[in-house]
């Protein structure tokens, strides 16, 4: 079992999707404790990937393939947990997108991938997303968070508009995180957002810290 956990972790660190798929299937075939394999194997792996990325040991391609391998494993293991006893805590639903007028996709996609890899339900609206679309989708999905990326100083005010629209519709319970190169913690607090995430790892920490 200990060896299996180690292998799961390593598959994620290596970004080896095939290996990750095999290990996830093996977990089910052998009737191993799914939750433990997820938490101590795969999740431990994606955490390590995040740490190495922050340290500057790994870069964007490794982060993306690590997250892909994680998604593969979770896709196989999650159904086995649903409805079962002792399932993982519901981490929450995040509606994410890049704000209207802004076509920058990569940072946002990375945050979405890492959130999903860490067990959040994620609705990715893509780039150039109108303010109203964030609010409508979050309401419809019963989202816990809206994550808004803005890479341009000219599009950042859109983040504020989302918050204003949430308030106008009495949806202030939905939390908002902002990110993107020109954003900062000061900007987040200026517009009344619940937090600022400078990168994908910070976004996961922020969402975990303030959900539930």
């Amino acid at each position: 079992m200990k060896e299996h956990l180690k292998e799961c972790m390593q598959a994620i660190i290596d970004g080896d999707t095939e290996r990750s798929e095999k290990l996830a299937k093996l977990t089910l075939e052998k009737g191993m404790p799914v939750l433990e394999v997820i938490n101590k194997g795969f999740v431990a792996g994606i955490r390590e990937v995040g740490r190495l990325w922050e340290e500057g040991e790994l870069f964007l391609p490794e982060l993306v393939i690590g997250a892909d391998a994680m998604k593969m494993a979770m896709g196989i293991l999650r159904p086995a947990l649903e409805g079962g006893e002792g399932g993982p805590d519901r981490l929450g639903h995040v509606v994410i997108g890049t704000i209207e007028g802004d076509i920058h996709d990569i940072g946002k996609t990375l945050v979405a991938t890492m959130l999903a890899a860490n067990g959040f339900e994620v609705t990715d609206l893509g780039a150039d997303v109108p303010v109203a679309k964030f609010v409508e989708t979050a309401e419809e999905k019963g989202a816990d968070w809206i994550a808004i990326s803005a890479l341009l100083t000219t599009t950042m005010p859109g983040q504020k508009k989302v918050i204003e629209q949430l308030e106008a519709k009495s949806l202030g319970n939905i939390r908002v995180m902002v990110g993107g190169a020109p954003c900062s913690a000061e900007w987040a607090s200026e517009i009344g957002a619940d937090g600022y995430a400078g990168d994908a790892v910070a976004a996961v920490a922020l969402a975990k810290g303030k959900t539930g």
Binding site: I103, I106, A181
Partner: protein, 298 residues
């Protein structure tokens, strides 16, 4: 021979500074691609180029950073202009500024930025699609009469290589190639993990006559990079940092660095081995003027 490389051997060449922020200052609005202004507002571009020449720039860059067909399709919300025509137009406007300027010995760089799409695993961009887009842009810049090519702000060395190869297919003119790097604990890297060592090796092998770095870093942060790259290659080096870190004020980005402080840092880069310097985001003719004054005193 147009003399750019000869001039570079004789003196430190000063490139111009930012374009986008100059256009925003005179009315570029949300969702509008700066590249489109070559058609919509050519008189503004002529004015910006002229201001940089008057400030003392030796090399001015065409307003074509985002003018590959791939990037234009994404950035022009009301339909993209025809790629070749836009690039030729941009080159001609800059050429006009050079022709009308009182002094000679100045050069026109055809500016080429990233496509904005990513190769796998991040995205679905193919090598062929990238090469074709860069070739189309470079061929048009060639027709527009540029003296050299400036491939800049490249975060993936593979994309930079495609751009260099594309230019080489359509032109014999010198190619300058800048990557954009962040400073990590273990040194300077692009977001893809491309290091200065890799840049020095690959870009030079691909035939870039000048290599370097631009954007992402402030002038202070880029000084060590200049020294490091100098130790890695004999190729001439170009550095174009930003005017400090952007700060938000009233929902707008402001670059607060003082042009004199910027100029002091650029001189340090020259002392560390840079063969050419210039500015990127947030820099204006005032910054270039300050650098010119100090270069002349060296």
């Amino acid at each position: 021979m147009n003399g750019f490389l000869e001039a570079l051997r004789e003196r430190v060449m000063l490139f111009d500074g930012g374009m986008g922020s100059m256009l925003i200052a005179v009315g570029l609005v949300d969702g509008e691609a700066p590249d489109e202004w070559s058609i919509k507002r050519p008189e503004v571009l002529l004015d910006v180029h002229t201001k940089y020449l008057e400030a003392g720039a030796d090399v001015i860059q065409t307003n074509t950073f985002g003018a590959t067909s791939i990037k234009l399709a994404a950035s022009c919300r009301d339909g993209a202009p025809e790629t070749a025509a836009l690039n030729i137009r941009a080159a001609k406007i800059a050429r006009q500024a050079l022709d009308e300027f009182i002094l000679g010995g100045r050069f026109l760089a055809g500016d080429i930025g990233p496509t904005g799409e990513f190769f796998p695993p991040m995205g679905t961009l193919s090598v062929d699609a990238a090469r074709n887009a860069f070739r189309e842009q470079a061929a048009a810049l060639e027709r527009g009469g540029v003296d050299l090519y400036l491939i800049e702000t490249m975060y993936d060395i593979r994309e930079a290589v495609e751009a260099i190869r594309a230019v080489k297919e359509v032109s014999d003119k010198p190619v300058v190639c800048e990557l954009t790097m962040e400073r990590k604990k273990k040194g300077y890297f692009t977001i893809m993990g491309d290091s200065p060592e890799k840049a020095a090796e690959i870009l030079v092998a691909e035939g870039a006559a000048v290599i370097g770095a631009n954007c992402s870093l402030t002038s202070g942060e880029m000084i060590d990079l200049a020294g490091e790259m100098r130790s890695l290659t004999e190729a001439p080096l170009l550095f174009q940092p930003n005017a400090g870190k952007p700060e938000m004020a009233g929902g707008k980005a402001v670059y607060r660095q003082d042009p004199e402080a910027f100029a002091v840092d650029l001189i340090k880069m020259v002392e560390a081995g840079a063969s050419a310097v210039g500015g990127c985001c947030g820099t204006t003719p005032d910054f270039i003027r300050a650098v010119r004054a100090r270069l002349d005193r060296m």
